[in-house]
């Protein structure tokens, strides 16, 4: 019996735990990660960034979250709305006002309710210009918080050349109210 239990232990230890493939995540725009976005991720706008503690706060319509960036965390720059390749980023790319999606390492829906508690993130996707990606499915709009639609950002491209992009409104003023009601930022994306 002991031998049997030992064998089970050894075998289970050698059998890897289930796992998702991470390599393609960089190419998936904000809000499109299958089975994660809208369920175990948070979208919102970066409110504060503390380079010293590597903690940033993410603010949305119905609350705020705190994200701890570690050496293991991936920072993705989502430039699909600009029809440019996504790339990896650094903390320097994380600036207040940027639209983002974060996935905590403990990526369960219950953990999302623990707002305000700083927890390690597996990844953060940042859309520096806050534009809606063309990759977003029809009917899916990321609502913009009032006041951020005209904010200028200065992301740098692959060559390191700084550029200024003036964000354009994703939806017309006439339609924005209905879209905002449909999708609330700062909470798990609803579809």
């Amino acid at each position: 019996m002991t031998r049997s239990l030992l064998m089970v232990g050894v075998l289970l230890a050698t059998a890897s735990a289930a796992h998702a493939q991470k390599a393609t995540e960089i190419y998936i725009p904000i809000g499109r990660s299958p089975g994660l976005s809208g369920k175990v991720t948070v979208t919102g706008f970066i409110a504060t960034v503390d380079d010293h503690t590597m903690v940033m706060s993410v603010k949305g319509a119905d609350g705020g979250w705190r994200a701890v960036v570690t050496d293991r965390s991936k920072i993705y720059i989502d430039r699909s709305a600009q029809r440019r390749p996504n790339r990896y980023g650094t903390m320097d790319d994380c600036k207040p006002g940027h639209f983002c999606e974060i996935k905590y390492v403990s990526g369960d829906a219950a953990a999302l309710r623990r707002r305000g508690e700083p927890r390690e993130i597996e990844w953060i996707k940042i859309r520096p210009d806050n534009r809606r990606s063309q990759a977003e499915p029809q009917g899916h709009r990321v609502a913009r918080r009032s006041g951020s639609s005209t904010a200028s950002q200065s992301p740098s491209d692959d060559s390191g050349v700084a550029m200024t992009i003036r964000a354009v409104p994703m939806v017309s003023a006439r339609r924005s109210a209905s879209h905002s009601a449909m999708v609330s930022c700062g909470s798990p994306i609803t579809r």
Binding site: S4, M7, L11, A17, Q21, P29, P34, N86, Q134, A135
Partner: protein, 458 residues
């Protein structure tokens, strides 16, 4: 039998006398609207990319996989060979020499930062019997290493990663430019279609087989002190029972990467390309790969994640070799054996296990073909799918012949299957007397099956 034979012990300790239920899902029928939509997407949708569809690599007429022999029959403008024609994909998207020579597809499982050096060359796993082979208590396992799917790692999410890896117009891989990502509805439909393919539940071994060699092969397969196959391939499926506990699909390091003289390495040396080692599950990988089902093995080679071995006999023999027995999985297996043996089989025993695998594969071919003909005869097939079903019935019949013939098994059954082949070909090629041809083919198929296995209700 693939890379996962692990674990030793006696039948008394590790017997699998009460196999757990293998399926817990609602079963959509082939006529289900969602499944039909998924089928349309699988075969036709390019997702705004380079022209490939899911079926570019997962060919229905090749058991939803592809190999070099089949690839050689395709025209030069087939989307499979897009890397040879599109300048933006000429470098680092595929390795055409390996694709054409060995049926290997390029994957960037460990990231896209160093395309020149960081890639894997893997075969195309078939998509049959997924309903029985993906689940594990720790979560779903997809692809060769169990981590093939992005996002939540589920089968439903798989297409997202596949589109990004295999469908882009350029290596920038910009969503909305180089491809579009599947919508939620499309993912749901694709998942429903994939789950509808092939077996919906595991076998319940032993089967009352009629052939003496296959019968002996089944005994060896089920003997946890000799073949030890059933430990990780419960009922010739993809799930393991460890220490009497059902653990679903699992990953193991069986040492396939360490095999000497692998075809890909030899080809690489010949043409001056180095094939990077495949580290399997995770990034960095832990060297493990997951367990595929065996019922469908005999007609879906080459075998293992890198197509290292071409024949089912060779795949069984792998577990008798030094590479497996010196691997982490082999060592664990040996450490629990009273004589310190991992797996040791003589040539006749290897052939017997392979014969068993050939026979159960043939029975699956026959079962699928009967179902296809039945659906067609009962007019349960949408008009736009009729030709595909007829072609598939013909392909399944030819597979059955090939699999039996390759092992010198059941010559009389082969005679009936050849008649079925003729009838199925007529039905596929002409409307004339189609229903009659299918009806007679069903009779021939049943005759063939009765020669292979005793039926409960003959």
């Amino acid at each position: 039998m693939r890379r996962s034979l692990l674990l030793a012990g006696s039948l008394g300790v590790f017997g699998c006398s009460s196999p757990p239920p293998a399926t817990h899902h609602e079963r959509p029928g082939r006529g289900d609207e969602l499944v039909s939509r998924g089928e349309d997407i699988f075969f036709n949708e390019t997702f705004g990319g380079n022209g490939r569809t899911c079926s570019t690599c997962h060919r229905a007429e090749r058991n939803f996989t592809i190999d070099a022999v089949f690839a050689a029959t395709l025209p030069p403008d087939d989307p499979l060979f897009i890397a040879e024609r599109r300048p933006s994909l000429r470098k680092n998207f595929e390795q055409p020499a390996f694709m054409r020579g060995l049926g290997l597809i390029l994957e960037n499982q460990d990231g896209f930062e160093d395309l020149e050096n960081n890639f894997n060359l893997r075969g195309v796993p078939h998509t049959l019997a997924l309903r029985t082979s993906v689940d594990s208590p720790a979560g779903p396992r997809t692809g060769w290493a169990g981590d093939g799917s992005p996002g939540d790692g589920s089968l439903r999410s798989f297409a997202v990663g596949a589109v990004i890896q295999h469908f882009p117009k350029t290596l920038h891989r910009i969503a909305g430019v180089d491809f579009r990502l599947p919508s939620d509805d499309e993912l749901n439909a694709l998942e429903a279609f994939l789950l509808s393919l092939g077996r919906q539940e595991d076998l319940n071994l032993p089967l009352p087989l009629k052939g003496a060699v296959a019968q002996r092969g089944q005994e060896i397969f089920l003997d946890d002190t000799l073949g030890k196959c059933n430990i990780c391939h419960l009922n010739a499926g993809a799930n393991a029972v460890l220490g009497g506990q059902f653990v679903g699909n699992a990953n193991f390091n069986t040492g396939v990467e360490d095999l000497p003289d692998q075809a890909a390495d030899l080809l690489g040396e010949l043409i001056g390309h180095t094939v990077p080692p495949d580290d399997g599950f995770g990034t960095p990988g832990d060297g493990t790969f997951n367990t595929p089902p065996l019922v469908e093995a005999a007609d879906t080679g080459p075998f293992f994640h890198n197509g290292a071995i071409d024949t089912i006999e060779g795949a069984v023999a792998f577990y008798d070799g030094d590479t497996f027995n010196n691997s982490p999985a082999g060592k664990v297996l040996a450490s629990f054996d009273p004589n310190g043996v991992g797996i040791r089989l003589d040539a006749t025993e290897i052939v017997a296990v392979a014969a068993f695998l050939r026979v159960i594969n043939t029975l699956e071919n026959i079962g699928v073909t009967l179902k296809l003909f039945d659906d067609l005869l009962q007019r349960r097939v949408k008009h736009r799918f009729i030709q595909r079903r007829l072609d598939q019935a013909l392909a399944e019949t030819r597979d059955a012949i090939r699999v039996l013939d390759g092992g010198g098994l059941h010559p009389e059954a082969i005679t009936h299957l050849r008649r079925t082949e003729t009838l199925a070909a007529r039905a596929a090629q002409s409307h004339f007397a189609r229903r009659r041809n299918m009806g007679v083919a069903v009779v021939e198929l049943k005759k063939a099956r009765r020669l292979i296995v005793q039926e409960e209700n003959p």
